[in-house]
């Protein structure tokens, strides 16, 4: 008897990418074509049902769980020769996770990489959404450790599946209630749960809640991959994303009295750095590309003024 798998095998599998890809030891983008196909199917389903967690057969990747095995598989399934890849970790292009994942795809695909958010077609991210607005021709891929915001409150997976199926989200609001009762405000500063498209509860991945408003009605396609938990979900372009709150305790984002010490940005997500042994501190942008581009423009302006007084 012919199994459904055999039907797939009759299709010529190696894509046009393979012909020009020079690293003969590995398939283009590391994963085999069947795996990419399986991930793309899960992605299609995820986009069709915004916020719904689609199970997928996550593969072992050559990096530890928790370092982005989910995100890296999505990137591998999506990347093509025409793509330009940007990888950020905590907003920066030069941190360990970002550098290693970028060099992994450089070796496995030969595609162009960039640090400039405007140039990128694929952006794999951990813990941040770029400050600069994204476009409809860009895809943002999140690395997700815990895809289900209810997993700490309801340990039974079957019961959580029911909660999602029936939109029965009383329990997650109990967490908000309890935070306000104990701390006076919702005490979640990152991984702040959201309702996607008015239906599914989802984790935005551990981005600061500062970034939550950017999830809402974003022109870019946003994809979420959890490797260890084997789940994929998506926020399609221009989809409503509401952060959970109470009517009398509305959702708020972080704000700082300081501006970025390097570029002067008053509105970006700032990190507090200790800069010397006397405990002096500076606030600087966590999005290194945003900060660098602002400084480049500023120095251009200065030069411009010097040349043309």
């Amino acid at each position: 008897m012919k199994s459904p798998c055999q039907w797939n095998e009759t299709v010529t599998l190696p894509s046009k990418n393979d012909a020009v890809f020079r690293n003969g030891d590995y398939n283009f983008a590391y994963l085999d074509e069947q795996t990419k196909r399986m991930i793309r199917r899960a992605l299609l389903k995820a986009v069709a049902i915004p916020g719904y967690q689609v199970p997928f057969a996550a593969r072992e990747m050559p990096l530890p769980y928790g370092w982005g095995t989910g995100g890296i598989q999505l990137t591998a399934a999506l990347i093509g020769l025409g793509d330009v890849l940007k990888v950020i970790d905590q907003g920066a292009d030069d941190t360990t996770n970002a550098v290693n994942i970028r060099s992994f795809f450089e070796r496995m695909t030969d595609v162009a990489t960039t640090t400039l958010v405007q140039e990128a077609t694929l952006i794999q991210t951990r813990h941040r959404i770029p400050e600069a607005p994204l476009r409809a021709d860009q895809i943002l891929i999140y690395q997700v450790p815990l895809p289900d915001p209810a997993s700490r409150l309801e340990p039974r997976g079957t019961e959580r599946a029911n909660m999602h199926a029936f939109g029965d989200y009383g329990l997650i609001n109990v967490k908000l209630y309890e935070d306000i009762a104990q701390h006076g405000s919702v005490a979640m500063a990152f991984d702040y749960p959201v309702i996607v498209n008015g239906r599914y509860l989802a984790s935005p991945s551990p981005i600061p809640k500062f970034d939550n408003p950017k999830l809402h009605m974003n022109p870019a396609l946003q994809l979420f991959g959890a490797g260890r938990e084997r789940r994929i979900y998506a926020i399609p372009p221009f989809t409503s994303v509401r952060s959970l709150d109470f009517d009398d305790h509305p959702f708020t984002i972080q704000a700082w009295d300081e501006s970025c010490a390097l570029c002067g940005a008053p509105d970006s997500f700032l990190e507090e750095m200790i800069v010397d042994d006397r405990g002096n501190r500076q606030h600087i942008c966590s999005d290194s590309d945003y900060c660098a581009q602002r400084r480049a423009i500023q120095s251009d302006d200065v030069r411009h003024q010097e040349v043309m007084p």
């Binding site: 029965d168 009383g170 329990l171 609001n173 309890e178 306000i180 009762a181 104990q182």
Partner: protein
């Protein structure tokens, strides 16, 4: 009088002889019904069948909704059943540990069902929680305390508040006074009697304590070996038992 919840031929057997065997039962609005019987007689099985915690092997369940329609719960969608369970029904468990959220405050416990039904105003939720703590005679200053900091009887009262907060029409209780000392039992029974007469909700209570039944129940069902062997008004059944098993049950209550 039209029944609120009716079971017809409800059957669920475990290992062929224990369980619940072709039981017909009607629960009426505003009426307190007690199921008594010895251990293993099938009373908890019946309670679980009626409250949709167990699927019957055979038999059907009908529920009369607020607008008077009679729905077959066996055919109702899981969505409808869950909505029913979190709005119009309540379930008070024998052990408050099973019926409470252990890691969140009393206020959050009381508010959970309201939030599941869409309440989104913290201040209003908190006021309701405080109000209900007062109604079940708990110190409302302890609204932010965890359930484990309350005594057993107080936990049981918290569980009752948590279930009554949505104004249910039907409350299921499985041995609500078991494991409480006698004075605490008396206070809880007193509270239950006041609340049910004030709110006019139907209750189904499973107990092996004839005293509890005498105090609370309008109607009594006696179960033996998976079947209802005797049913009637509480005083009628207890004062003039017809079945030999019921006679034995009534006569085995120790006189004080």
């Amino acid at each position: 009088m039209t029944a609120l919840l009716s079971g017809r031929g409800l059957t669920r057997m475990f290992d062929g002889n224990n369980g619940c065997d072709h039981v017909d039962i009607d629960l009426h609005p505003g009426e307190v019904t007690c199921i008594v019987g010895e251990s293993g007689s099938g009373k908890t099985t019946l309670l679980n069948l009626l409250s949709l915690q167990l699927r019957p092997d055979a038999g059907s369940l009908y529920y009369r909704t607020l607008d008077g329609a009679r729905i077959d719960l066996g055919l109702a969608s899981e969505m409808d059943r869950r909505r029913l369970m979190r709005t119009e029904w309540g379930f008070v468990r024998q052990n408050p540990r099973d019926g409470l959220l252990r890691d969140v405050s009393a206020g959050a416990n009381i508010s959970e069902r309201l939030m599941a039904n869409g309440a989104r105003h913290y201040g209003a939720l908190r006021d309701t929680a405080i109000d209900w703590m007062r109604k079940v005679e708990l110190d409302h200053g302890r609204v932010d305390d965890l359930p484990r900091d309350f005594s057993g009887g107080m936990q049981q009262r918290l569980q009752i508040a948590r279930n009554l907060v949505t104004g249910p029409r039907l409350l299921f209780m499985d041995e609500p006074t078991a494991g409480l000392d006698v004075s605490v039992q008396a206070r809880l029974l007193d509270l239950l009697r006041t609340l049910t007469s004030q709110l006019g909700i139907a209750m189904l209570i499973v107990t092996h304590d004839i005293g509890v039944a005498r105090l609370l129940a309008h109607r009594l069902l006696v179960m033996h070996r998976g079947r209802i062997i005797e049913t009637g008004l509480t005083d009628q059944v207890l004062d003039d038992p017809q079945q030999p098993y019921t006679q034995m049950l009534v006569s085995s209550v120790l006189p004080v």
